[in-house]
Symmetry: D2
Subunit: 153 residues, 4 copies
Amino acid sequence: MKRPYFPTQPGQPQPLRVTVSRVVRFEEVDPLGIVWHGRYPGYFEDARVTLGNRFGIGYMDLYRAEVITPIKKMHIDYHRPLCFEDPFTIEGILHWSEAARINIEFILRNGAGEVTTSGYTVQMMMDKENDFLLVAPPFYREFCDRWKSGQLV
Amino acid sequence: MKRPYFPTQPGQPQPLRVTVSRVVRFEEVDPLGIVWHGRYPGYFEDARVTLGNRFGIGYMDLYRAEVITPIKKMHIDYHRPLCFEDPFTIEGILHWSEAARINIEFILRNGAGEVTTSGYTVQMMMDKENDFLLVAPPFYREFCDRWKSGQLV
Amino acid sequence: MKRPYFPTQPGQPQPLRVTVSRVVRFEEVDPLGIVWHGRYPGYFEDARVTLGNRFGIGYMDLYRAEVITPIKKMHIDYHRPLCFEDPFTIEGILHWSEAARINIEFILRNGAGEVTTSGYTVQMMMDKENDFLLVAPPFYREFCDRWKSGQLV
Amino acid sequence: MKRPYFPTQPGQPQPLRVTVSRVVRFEEVDPLGIVWHGRYPGYFEDARVTLGNRFGIGYMDLYRAEVITPIKKMHIDYHRPLCFEDPFTIEGILHWSEAARINIEFILRNGAGEVTTSGYTVQMMMDKENDFLLVAPPFYREFCDRWKSGQLV
């Protein structure tokens, strides 16, 4: 991965990070003995959900604020395979955005610490009428304020 | 399969049948090269949905009648494996029931016509308050009337 | 569950048990907001794999012994739904069998300790030529000896 | 989609196209009532497999040539949602490449002909020792010759 998916601009808050540990399940493996490429969106989601719960911006928090955040873009780079029962970690990295969107980078590492997979998703914020929001809802802006002021790790 | 899953009682209407054709998809196959046993509930559902649409008792028909029909019981017998790109059929067989329940038998056959898998599901009918219905809703009783009078094939 | 799936005969060794903890993932939930009934085979497998690893009779142990153990029968009883982010446990209970088969019972419980789902799978042992084994392979019979002599918990 | 995923260079053969028809299955839909974003890799694969079979460069053809073609990159742009029972088409578009790789673009359209989703995958060719191939195997080069000479539609 030469170029960053989301280059950090000068003066922007540092990204927020969580790491989830997992083991490859039997049903995730394909006839070639490696995790089928289409399972990785689920792995990404494990980190996205953890990130959301850690910082109070999860599905349920958004749901209560009557905001939905559909995924508009997903990108995955496959570097190394994972096999049945392999332990691995999924790091979710929330990057700062000035717009009403959620940009998350994902890095998977195997038991040896090697990057096996990387990628990102971009989510837009929409209201109940399916209109895109130009500004994030109040609870999310407060989260951003805490982030900017360095209160979040 | 020696014993019938749902023995037909004397005087009961004959079961209603549909058959769906499918080909095994790559993501359904496990590291041993055969369809993972946990994919079959989805195959059963392909026939269940077709059965519902054919006879006007599908998810959406039930939804409009404010009835949900959760699955209470599922049983699967695995006779022969299926492999990647194998063509197969799924027969869905709706058996008559006097109660407010939906009993469907499933039979999968490979390209040679051999039974590879069989099983059944039992669904109960519930209203919006999640209470079990003792009698089926009007549109379903009308469907049963047509069935009993031999108007359905 | 009134009748036991696998009644214990007098003189048989007590079943072996493991319990796995899980949280419902977003992709497992259906449009009605509950775990789709077809995800439960995967939950069962989480306990089956753990059971295998705990007692040295896992996929890989069998694979090394050139034995495969396809699932011949699966049964699921759905008692209560599970929803997104619900924590739950999966208990896998290996029942004694005199034949070359693996009989496992599964019990899922929600955070309140209520049984949400129960069921079982039956696996047969086959050799590389896909012939059914009449007797279990040596490493499995040794496992059974340790089980019978009370060395396993 | 403003920029093409794989710009066609002057003098290159025109892309090869197939179109597959599908209906959204119940298990593909998430709690928000739309197809979960992680199901689309499977939809893409339906077109990839059809493309491979149509032109004799499918999984099995590659397998016989002792070549595997793991996916190295996948990108998905989500434009519009799909819902339960929505009919849709998946167009798979194989783009010419001078390298030993397989570049496929995917376009999904709903019943009204609107583009709901687009994206691409990049596959590398590897031999049995997991070394990347610098040149495609003979049967694939012959396929490319037929493509270049305009014998394929």
